[in-house]
């Protein structure tokens, strides 16, 4: 327990340090790491911990992003106020999407959520909503400035703000998944019939878990929209959902800490692949992914946990 606190503090220090030293663009990349980490955390709660597969979390990310963008562009709502609104909206949508999940197990649920991800860009482009969504063009929103005349650039402030939101979201997720509810989530994943016999209401637990998961990914979408200062339907294609899924598996599906590594992976590895080969970055990306899965079959989170255990054992001797 104490060791995990120490790690948390070290991670936090390492996370704040770039503010002073990194350039604007690199800070923006780190902001996106935080954003993706929160999005993947939502997926980890659903898929890794509760065992419900979603291939459509990009849809919730899009809904969160658009909620924030519409509120800011149409009603001049301050950016930070849009986050709780987006959380409520996405939790509601997630709850509704979670209802068919009760009847559709495993792979069928994956397909249902996939269908949602396929549909969302077209819904956002649809004429009926054009007044709010801006149609194909999307919406441009203002990048927030640092408040209280703090001597920070917009990028620096945005990074710190995202980090602040991220720390809160992670702390809540750790509490949730380590207590009674988290145990119930895992129990349902591992043996639903036995979990039910222990008094767990499967329908209630699964739909609420879906809502929480969608809320996390939705808030990430909101933060992402603020960071990019722009939303457009084509940024939320099916590929985004798959990317989140890749991040989840690369990080280690049931590992909370692993989601951060997963986020670093999906933010930087495509760039890295691009540097290695301008002609075939997709192929390089694929090779890196396969090598990583081969070396760390339990994902990066599982790998680090195993290494840590070995280290503690060696230290204990």
């Amino acid at each position: 327990m104490r060791a995990s606190w120490l790690i948390a503090i070290l991670v936090l220090i390492a996370a704040i340090w770039p503010v002073a030293t990194f350039s604007g663009y690199h800070l923006f990349q780190l902001t996106m790491v935080v954003v993706y980490a929160i999005a993947i955390l939502g997926l980890a709660i659903l898929t890794g911990i509760n065992g419900q597969i979603s291939l459509g979390h990009g849809a919730f990310y899009a809904i969160g992003a658009y909620t924030t963008a519409i509120l800011m562009a149409s009603w001049d709502v301050p950016y930070w106020v849009t986050l709780p609104v987006s959380a409520v909206v996405c939790a509601g949508v997630g709850f509704l999407v979670g209802l068919p999940a009760l009847r559709l197990g495993g792979l069928y649920l994956a397909l249902t959520t996939f269908a949602l991800a396929v549909a969302i860009p077209q819904v956002l482009k649809h004429k009926a909503f054009e007044t709010w969504t801006g149609g194909v063009q999307g919406l441009v929103i203002d990048k927030p400035e640092a408040p209280f005349d703090l001597p920070l650039t917009s990028d620096q402030w945005l990074y710190l703000f995202s980090l602040f939101v991220g720390v809160i979201m992670y702390a809540l997720a750790v509490n949730l998944t380590q207590g009674r509810i988290g145990r119930a989530m895992r129990a349902v994943r591992d043996h639903a019939v036995a979990a039910e016999a222990m008094g767990i209401n499967l329908a209630m637990l699964k739909t609420r878990t879906f809502a929480v998961s969608a809320m996390y990914t939705g808030v990430a979408g909101s933060l992402g929209a603020i960071a990019v200062a722009f939303v457009a339907p084509d940024s939320f294609s099916v590929f985004l959902s798959i990317t989140f899924f890749v991040g989840l598996v690369a990080g280690g599906a049931a590992s909370i800490g692993g989601t951060i590594i997963g986020a670093i992976f999906i933010e930087f590895v495509p760039n890295l692949a691009d540097k290695v080969s301008k002609a075939a970055p997709g192929a390089v990306y694929g090779v890196i992914l396969i090598v990583m899965m081969f070396l760390m079959p339990k994902g990066a989170g599982g790998f680090v946990a195993d290494m840590w255990r070995k280290l503690v054992k060696a230290g204990g001797r």
Binding site: L176, R180, D190, H191, V193, A194, E196, A197, M198, G199
Partner: protein, 265 residues
């Protein structure tokens, strides 16, 4: 037996169950008294497991009724069974394999706490109180079932006999009034069955609960049960003390075959 038992803990009256045209249970009736170990025996296909699933809500019986403390279980949802006072184990164990022994057992206490998602995420004081209460019961069971040394180990990696004890602990932490055991001796060797017999008696005496033991293993049932009921083809063929049931010609015929036909056993 406690004084309150003018009403049995569990009363099964005329329960019928059909699958398509096959009659699995043709009207079975018997009682389980307070603090009683009740054996339920019968050859394969006799309806033991069907009846077990009717009691635990996996199947919904078609006729008759199952009363627990006088109240019908007919429409109780499965996830409410633990709250009503029914604990159970599974044939061939159904543990949450990657979870530690401790977490497995604590899941059994799920229904005793009420804290929801938000309270848990914020770790409100009520959540900590609930955790502390569950921890006390957990400690008791770790000692009683000799699981303390393995409490941090993933349940799926333990030997089968130990897994059975974990499952028993998981059922017991929820403070059931009736413990349903579905073929607990399946897959155990001779000495493990002896330990199991000891354990069942110990559990009954320690927690003052009733046990319904559905079992193939005749010697185990006869050794620990206060009363035994025997089924064949969905009908009750004997009901009484182990000695009475053992002496019943119908039971001997059902288990050993008719002396006129060529008995396989």
């Amino acid at each position: 037996m406690p004084a309150e038992s003018d009403q049995p803990l569990l009363r099964i009256t005329g329960v019928k169950m059909r699958f398509g045209g096959v009659v699995a249970l043709g009207g079975v009736s018997f009682d389980v008294a307070h603090s009683q170990i009740r054996g339920l025996i019968g050859p394969n296909g006799s309806g033991k497991t069907t009846l077990f699933n009717c009691i635990s809500g996996i199947y919904r019986f078609m006729e008759g009724d199952i009363l627990f403390e006088g109240k019908s279980l007919a429409n109780v949802p499965r996830h409410e069974m633990a709250n009503v006072g029914l604990g159970r184990t599974f044939q061939n164990v159904a543990l949450f394999r990657p979870l530690s022994v401790r977490d497995n057992i604590l899941v059994g206490a799920h229904h005793m706490a009420k804290s929801g998602f938000i309270a848990n995420a914020l770790r409100l004081p009520g959540v900590r109180r609930e955790d502390a209460a569950a921890q006390v019961r957990l400690d008791d069971l770790l000692d009683l079932l000799d699981l303390r040394s393995v409490q941090d180990i993933p349940a799926g990696s333990l030997p089968f006999g130990t897994q059975k004890r974990v499952e028993m602990a998981r059922a017991l932490i929820g403070a059931p009034k009736l413990l349903l055991l579905d073929e607990p001796a399946a897959g155990l060797n001779h000495s493990e069955v002896d330990e199991l017999a000891e354990l069942i008696l110990q559990v009954r005496d320690h927690f003052k609960i009733s046990v319904l033991l559905v079992e193939h293993h005749m010697s185990l049932v006869m050794r620990v049960s206060d009363k035994v009921v025997a089924l064949e083809f969905g009908l009750k063929i004997a009901d009484g003390t182990p000695d009475e049931v053992r002496a019943e010609p119908e039971v001997i015929r059902a288990y050993l075959g008719d002396s006129n036909t060529e008995a396989v056993h």
